[in-house]
């Protein structure tokens, strides 16, 4: 059934992403690997905008932008053109930002998302390259700041700003779009979304097809969804009370979950764009076929292949391909000859679920080990081996461990500090599934020793069966499969 969009919501997004996987900045040779560095140590005369310096365009930035454009199924410009966006701000060392204006590198693309009513297409108006300014660090809280420090490590980082059509009809769709967009970028290996400041979003939203309001500089996908939910509610209430929505820019206060007015349209700045005279246009038309060849398999294609090749469900395939590193991990496990369906369940449902529960983000994969960091504290790290998952899936498939024991193994690895294989953990914790005759013996003993409970059960008290199962588990030290134990008791008592 088609989604009716009862509030006439229209959402468009402007997303800044840092091409933080590239080695050097956009116009100078400074390293992009500044995230753990002391302030102003990854700078040079060029990214500090010292008088007399000139920008030199990093070709890798253009290649990455073209890659993104192709992945978004957009049209690629024939040549690069840069403009200056002029404004004063302490984080902007030259007093202007080098960006693209009326001839962006990418235009007219699209992204297909899982919308409110099935597949939904979000149009990409344009995507262009620009440089990141530095970063302001307030001494103390923003409200009571005693001063501002400037860190130019970020200055000159390559950015791609992507502008969508106002095609999203709910905050959920906006969130889905961002998840998908980020996923595509990570597939292209140009972007690491886990790094601080890697993605910043401005959202344009209107209700009842009315005036749009811009909510600026939201730093997380969850934040976008929350900001939009609040903003839609606010706009609906303004209209309900007979008010009018004014075209304005609002700021999202993450802490309070509300949007606050920053400035109205009349105060809009004039950026006095003009062509950057220090950069010559770079012809890129001939690069496109080559870049197309290097384009990796993208999420949708991979998902379809997983369903086909491994015989797994759409839901599992979707979840496994939601992160390129997870997809690669899963395929490596399958390549070891395990049952791909069992591997899908354990990877997509259990493993991923336990990661989410712990707020762990997948941050690396090297072919043998998948690594994660804690969402709030990147110092908290852990990893999981392809071999570990392979072993665990095999043990489970062969019936050597119960599902409860297998979950326990995953949890132990995720919470542990020393590296252990699943069989080591199983051995240490005595998690091997009890031999069948051992369970049978325990069942017989439990029935013999608990006549009262047996009578109650036969008299219709279902609860007593649970007690008997508990006794069996106790006798087998938890290694028995609870379901099997239950079946055996019922079978025994019925005869």
């Amino acid at each position: 059934m088609a989604y009716e969009n009862p509030d006439g919501v229209k959402i468009g997004l402007e997303i800044h992403i840092q091409l933080n996987k590239l080695k050097t900045k956009m116009f100078c040779g400074c390293s992009t690997d500044y995230h753990n560095a002391a302030p102003n140590t990854h700078t040079c005369p060029i990214c500090l905008g010292l008088p007399g310096t000139l920008p030199v365009l990093n070709k890798k930035v253009v290649e990455a932008a073209i890659k993104v454009g192709l992945a978004l199924e957009g049209e690629i410009a024939e040549e690069t053109q840069f403009h200056r966006k002029n404004y004063f701000y302490p984080d902007l060392p030259k007093g202007f930002q080098i960006t693209q204006y009326d001839y962006p590198i990418v235009s007219n693309g699209k992204v297909v998302i899982e919308g409110e009513d099935g597949e939904h297409v979000v149009g990409i108006t344009r995507a262009h390259m620009e440089e990141d300014p530095g970063k302001l660090v307030h001494i103390g809280s923003i409200e009571k700041s005693k001063g501002v420090l400037i860190d130019y490590n970020r200055s000159g980082m390559p950015l791609i700003e992507t502008v969508t059509e106002p095609d999203m009809r709910s905050p959920k769709e906006a969130r889905r779009f961002l998840d998908k967009f980020r996923n595509i970028l990570e597939y292209l290996d140009v972007f690491d979304g886990n790094l601080e400041g890697a993605m910043r979003v401005d959202a344009n939203v209107s209700v009842h097809w009315g005036t749009r309001v811009e909510v600026k500089n939201i730093s997380s996908h969850k934040g976008v969804e929350r900001a939009l939910l609040y903003e839609i509610m606010r706009q609906k209430n303004v209209i309900r009370r007979g008010g009018k929505i004014v075209q304005e820019t609002r700021h999202f206060d993450e802490g309070r979950g509300v949007t606050i007015s920053m400035r109205t349209k009349e105060e809009a700045e004039d950026y006095r764009y003009f062509r950057e005279p220090d950069l010559m246009p770079m012809r890129v038309r001939d690069w496109i076929p080559k870049i197309k060849e290097t384009l990796p398999e993208l999420p949708d294609a991979k998902r379809a292949r997983f369903i086909e090749q491994y015989g797994i469900t759409d839901m599992h395939a979707r979840s496994l391909t939601s992160k390129i590193m997870l997809a690669d991990f899963y395929e490596a496990v399958c390549a070891k000859g395990v049952d791909p369906k069992v591997a899908a369940t354990w990877t997509a449902d259990v493993f991923l679920g336990e990661l989410n529960y712990r707020d762990l983000l997948i941050s690396s994969y090297d072919g043998g080990t998948i690594g994660f960091i804690h969402a709030k504290d990147p110092e908290v790290k852990n990893s999981f081996k392809v071999l570990g998952m392979t072993e665990l899936v095999n043990l489970f498939s062969e019936g050597k461990v119960s599902d409860r024991a297998a979950v326990e193994v995953i949890r132990t690895i995720l919470d542990g500090t020393e590296e252990k294989t699943p069989s080591q953990i199983i051995k240490e914790k005595g998690l091997f599934k009890a031999e069948d005759d051992l369970v049978t013996k325990a069942v017989a003993e439990a029935i013999a020793e608990n006549a009262a409970a047996v009578q109650d059960y036969l008299g219709g008290t279902e609860k007593s069966l649970n007690f008997l199962v508990g006794q069996v588990m106790k006798k087998t030290k938890g290694t028995a499969d609870a379901k099997t134990a239950r079946e055996l008791i019922v079978k025994e008592l019925k005869e």
């Binding site: 007399g52 002029n86 003009f274 005279p277 220090d278």
Partner: protein
């Protein structure tokens, strides 16, 4: 030691005595200077010369002293651009041309005076006060590279580097009776040169003769990966120095001899053209109908680019910083105190020309005119090899004479700025005098046709003696 020496003579002197002695001699002359040509004299010059004496150097300029315009970054020396706003700023890096000079063995004497951020034709907008013209100390040396031209004319350096955005090398060369080349846009890297108007400017050499211009070009020209607008070329500039212009076809654009031209200037330039004729060249008049719009177009483009280029001077990272209760107040006060009147005027005009509502009317229109001017040159230069015209319509004026009237002052660039709009090469060579003040002949060539320009200039020099005349006041 002779006061005026060509580079070849300087090299001879170094061989006879030492680089140290030669440098010391120039420093002594600079010490006695009456022209305010240098803003900073390098305290490392002697040391540099001594090092070359001690270690030897096989570069083409080993031990040869040179003066550098104060908008070209030399690591460790102030780079003030004639402005207060750069007070205390010392660049931590060398401009590309400085790297080339140092590699060639040149000794940097110091930094020369200029109009603030190269905005002017007289050096009067300099925070350090005007330089004097060696031919008449009450007159300006031209600008904006006035300091460089003046020290070369006064014998305080054998040659110098300037920069030319709309005539800033050629105008002072003409006013001071020296030779000055504005290379084709892209021939010399701009890396390390503080930008006034990026799309227009080039570093250019100033010297007492054409040969030394070629020597310097062979050192500084060529591709530099740090300047995306620089272009690879294999030109060997000194090879162009041939005393022969037979079959040369000269175009004389009548628009360059417009209203207000000094009759002596007009006569001197025509005499020069007839001289060429007598040496075997032919000439014809050419028409360039769009030249009359060039000056307006030039100023709009230059000021627009300048307004943006100068935004980085905000007191935050380098140079002057005023006190303000918050960042924006600090920036406003710093810029109010740091920039001079002319710079402020051009920033405001440039900002205005790029503003919403005026952008199309001014900036875009200026770009269209630029295209038309280029086409005029293309057309003219398809029929002839070179164009010849006065460098400036008038000789050097008195200090203070025009500074209150910016529009008249802007007219000094009327014959030189079209060449920058079109990105061509052009040289000014001495071709006569009026009331004891030098006159410059401008020779304009196709893009990257410096060899033809230099050859014509060299031939003229070989057959005339204007370039051997020295200013009386400081002789």
């Amino acid at each position: 030691m002779a006061k005026w020496m060509s580079v070849a003579q300087v090299k001879e002197k170094i061989k006879e005595s030492s680089a140290e002695e030669v440098t010391a001699r120039y420093l002594e002359l600079i010490g006695k200077s009456k022209i305010n040509g240098y803003v900073t004299v390098s305290d490392k010059a002697l040391e540099q010369a001594k090092k070359i004496d001690a270690e030897g150097h096989d570069g083409p300029l080993a031990g040869v002293p040179i003066a550098i315009k104060d908008n070209i970054s030399v690591a460790g020396l102030p780079n003030s651009c004639g402005s207060k706003i750069l007070e205390g700023y010392i660049p931590p890096f060398n401009a590309h041309v400085i790297e080339k000079l140092l590699a060639a063995g040149a000794v940097i004497l110091g930094k020369t005076n200029m109009d603030e951020f190269a905005m002017g034709s007289s050096t009067e907008t300099s925070h350090f006060g005007p330089s004097a013209n060696p031919w008449d100390l009450e007159r300006i040396p031209g600008g904006s590279s006035g300091g460089s031209a003046a020290v070369v004319a006064a014998g305080e350096a054998p040659f110098a580097l300037g920069s030319d955005t709309g005539g800033s090398v050629r105008c002072p060369a003409a006013f001071c009776g020296v030779v000055g080349l504005k290379p084709t846009h892209g021939a010399v890297s701009r890396y390390g040169v503080v930008a006034y108007a990026n799309s227009l400017e080039q570093v250019g050499p100033l010297a007492n003769n054409v040969e030394d211009i070629a020597v310097l070009m062979d050192v500084i020209a060529g591709y530099d990966r740090r300047d995306s607008t620089s272009i690879e070329s294999k030109t060997e500039y000194q090879k162009a120095l041939v005393d022969d212009i037979k079959d040369l076809k000269i175009g004389v654009p009548k628009e360059f001899f417009g209203e207000g031209i000094h009759p002596d200037v007009e006569k001197a330039v025509w005499d020069a053209i007839h001289k060429y004729e007598s040496l075997g060249a032919s000439w014809e008049e050419v028409s360039m109908p769009n030249i009359k719009y060039a000056l307006a177009s030039y100023y709009i483009i230059a000021m627009s680019e300048a307004a943006s280029n100068l935004a980085r001077f905000d007191g935050t990272r380098h140079g002057l910083r005023a006190n303000g209760e918050n960042w924006h107040a600090m920036v406003s006060k710093t810029r109010a105190e740091g920039f001079g009147t002319e710079t402020k005027r051009r920033i405001l005009l440039g900002t205005y020309a790029l503003s919403a509502g005026y952008h199309d009317k001014y900036y875009l229109k200026a770009l269209k005119v630029r295209t038309l001017v280029k086409q005029d040159f293309d057309k003219a230069l398809s029929k002839v090899n070179l164009l010849m015209a006065p460098t400036t319509p008038n000789p050097a004026f008195k200090i203070g004479e025009k500074i209150e009237d910016p529009l008249t002052l802007y007219l000094s660039d009327v014959n030189t700025c079209p060449i920058n709009l079109a990105g061509l090469s052009s040289i000014s060579v001495p071709c006569g005098f009026t009331d004891g003040l030098p006159i410059g002949l401008q020779i304009i060539g196709k893009p990257f046709d410096e060899p033809s320009v230099l050859r014509a200039a060299y031939t003229f020099e070989q057959n005339t003696d204007y370039h051997t005349k020295r200013p009386p006041e400081v002789a």
